[in-house]
């Protein structure tokens, strides 16, 4: 079966004008411009099949948004090829545009001083959605997101979470086959992030939409994606099962401890690998499965004032992956 999204050796370079600082530099720049080539996306290739929900993760500036913009037709590739549903995105054909949706976190597309419902009607006409399908889809989405009472309220009077939910309905009412989500939970509080993730999970389950989700939050991806593509500095660093990566590279979590009185580094070594150490503060790396036991041991045996358990940082995982690739 043909993949829905097919990317081959895609590159996107920008020319950035380099200027020396100060007035002298500005004048020099008038006569001779120095350009630096930024490789936002550098020879990446991947395919995505129907119904897959793939997480595209990497640090800021890694090339995630650039890739999505190329797939949405907002950017021309510098070289290489990308097709979605058989279409070349940058030709921006309406037959293609009616079949996908791009949702960018924190970017509002709803009309600010009108009820969300009016924006829905506008999108209905733009995407030429038949009335029956529109009614059915909007009802279904409104129920899933639990926003029935707010549809007739002016968007500017809604809370951030309610607004985001309405943005999602507007973006999905034409039942797109492909969904590009660019940092969809950024800026939302923890509770709302969870609700939005649950919504996407259910939506993908019901409608078998093909989804690419970019994020720099591991949690977004853990909840929703079986497969992840890790991208860093424009290159793909890993493309595969999420569970594998967690098993191999994020098998440890970090315990950060703040002490009431000074402890010796040697005292800590028996609990786990010491990553950071100051007389009153330390961070240990401990295997996931041992965390509950180690945490309770540490609290019992050391003068702990505060204890914090956190995930391995994405940067660490990527760094590890890079080391391995070398």
């Amino acid at each position: 079966m043909n993949p829905i999204i097919d990317v081959k050796h895609l590159s996107k370079y920008y020319k950035q004008h380099k200027k020396e600082p100060g007035l002298k530099g500005s004048i020099k720049a008038l006569f001779k411009r120095k350009y630096k080539t930024i490789k936002a996306v550098d020879n990446i290739s991947f395919t995505i099949n129907e119904g897959e929900m793939v997480g595209f993760i990497g640090p800021n500036g890694a090339g995630k948004t650039t890739t999505l913009k190329v797939l949405s037709g907002l950017l021309y590739p510098t070289s290489g090829m990308a097709t979605v549903l058989g279409y070349t995105p940058h030709r921006r054909q309406s037959e293609y545009q009616k079949q996908f949706s791009l949702v960018m976190g924190q970017k509002n597309q709803l009309w600010w001083d009108l009820p969300a419902l009016e924006s829905f009607i506008l999108n209905k006409e733009i995407y030429e959605v038949p009335q029956e399908q529109y009614d059915k889809t909007v009802n279904e989405l409104t129920e899933l997101l639990d926003v029935k009472e707010v549809l007739k309220v002016q968007v500017r009077k809604l809370s951030l979470g309610q607004r985001m939910k309405c943005e999602l309905i507007a973006a999905l009412l034409h039942s797109p086959k492909v969904l590009f989500l660019d940092e969809p939970t950024i800026g939302l509080d923890v509770v709302m992030q969870k609700k939005i993730r649950e919504f996407f999970k259910e939506y993908n389950r019901r409608f078998k939409t093909t989804v690419i989700l970019t994020s720099h939050y591991m949690d977004d991806v853990k909840e929703l994606c079986k497969r992840i593509i890790m991208i860093n500095k424009g290159k793909i660093v890993y493309d595969g099962d999420l569970k594998e990566i967690i098993k191999k590279y994020a098998s440890n979590k970090y315990i950060t401890l703040v002490f009431l009185k000074e402890v010796n580094q040697s005292d800590l070594k028996k609990f786990g690998k010491v990553m950071e150490f100051e007389p009153l503060k330390a961070t240990l790396s401990v295997a996931r499965k041992n965390i509950p036991q180690v945490a309770s041991d540490v609290l019992k045996k050391l003068p702990v004032d505060d204890l914090d358990i956190s995930e391995a940082k994405l940067d660490d995982i990527i760094r590890q992956l890079f080391e391995i690739k070398k």
Partner: protein, 259 residues
């Protein structure tokens, strides 16, 4: 059909938005009335000392002023807020949302915001035109009125294209605010009859920035004889300018998406 439906939605939305604030409407009504009256009074004062200005009598001048403010009213009602938004969207790279949708971005950016409360300017301007006509000896027939309305539409399109093209300069020169302001100011020159231009200015304001044609031509249709050639040229320039906006917009978008 689809674009007609979209336009109806835009009109409906603008009415919902504007008429939710009645005080604003009352104030804008009064402001327009005061302002238009002051312009008419100013010209009346000038005409107490002169019989004609470059060959235009008082009643013909009234016609010219009225026609200008009809076109001006059309532009401000239909396009002004859109141009403000367009400036912001190009500079801040906010066009992404529209570009991914199956709709003409030029259409949406030119029509989505309508300032419904400006309708009062039409009404007053039309009254001025009728006033001007009533003071002439000329009987106006349906054909002339039809032609007048048609070239009013052409005038509006010309104004739209000139303004729109100046906005497009933002694709290439992000700090082109000055250029845009220049065009906005220049637009006000269209209220003067084209006879005030001569020589090189006549060419510039007829063919390059067709201000001379915009308002003068429709006004002249009602009171004087306008040659067929002039009418055809005006129509052709209107069409050419409109096509130019589509071409320039599409080239501008190519630059926008290559960044």
């Amino acid at each position: 059909m689809k674009y007609l439906k979209l336009y109806k939605i835009f009109i409906k939305n603008s009415f919902i938005r504007e008429f939710s604030d009645p005080l604003n409407i009352i104030i804008s009504h009064i402001a327009v009335l005061l302002w238009m009256s002051s312009i008419v009074i100013l010209y009346k004062v000038i005409f107490t000392h002169l019989d004609t200005i470059v060959g235009w009598t008082w009643s013909e001048t009234l016609l010219l002023i009225g026609t200008f403010y009809i076109v001006d009213g059309i532009i401000f009602t239909l396009f002004y807020w859109n141009f403000l938004k367009l400036k912001e969207y190009i500079k801040k790279q906010k066009l992404d949302g529209i570009l991914t949708k199956p709709v003409s971005s030029q259409f949406v950016m030119s029509t989505q915001e309508i300032q419904a409360s400006m309708y009062i300017q039409f009404i007053v301007a039309i009254v001025v035109v009728i006033l001007g006509l009533s003071q002439t000896e000329i009987r106006v027939d349906l054909m002339h009125i039809g032609l007048y309305l048609f070239f009013l539409a052409c005038a509006s399109i010309i104004a739209y294209t000139v303004w729109f093209l100046s906005m497009c300069s933002l694709f290439w020169i992000p700090s082109a605010e000055n250029i845009i302001q220049f065009f906005e100011e220049i637009f006000n020159f269209a209220v003067y009859p084209s006879q005030i231009y001569s020589g090189v200015f006549k060419i510039i304001f007829t063919f390059i920035i067709p201000l001379a044609l915009m308002v003068t031509i429709p006004s002249q249709i009602l009171t004087q004889e306008v040659s067929h050639v002039t009418l055809i040229i005006t129509f052709l320039i209107t069409v050419l300018l409109f096509i130019l906006t589509k071409v320039v917009w599409s080239i501008g978008l190519k630059r926008y998406t290559n960044q």
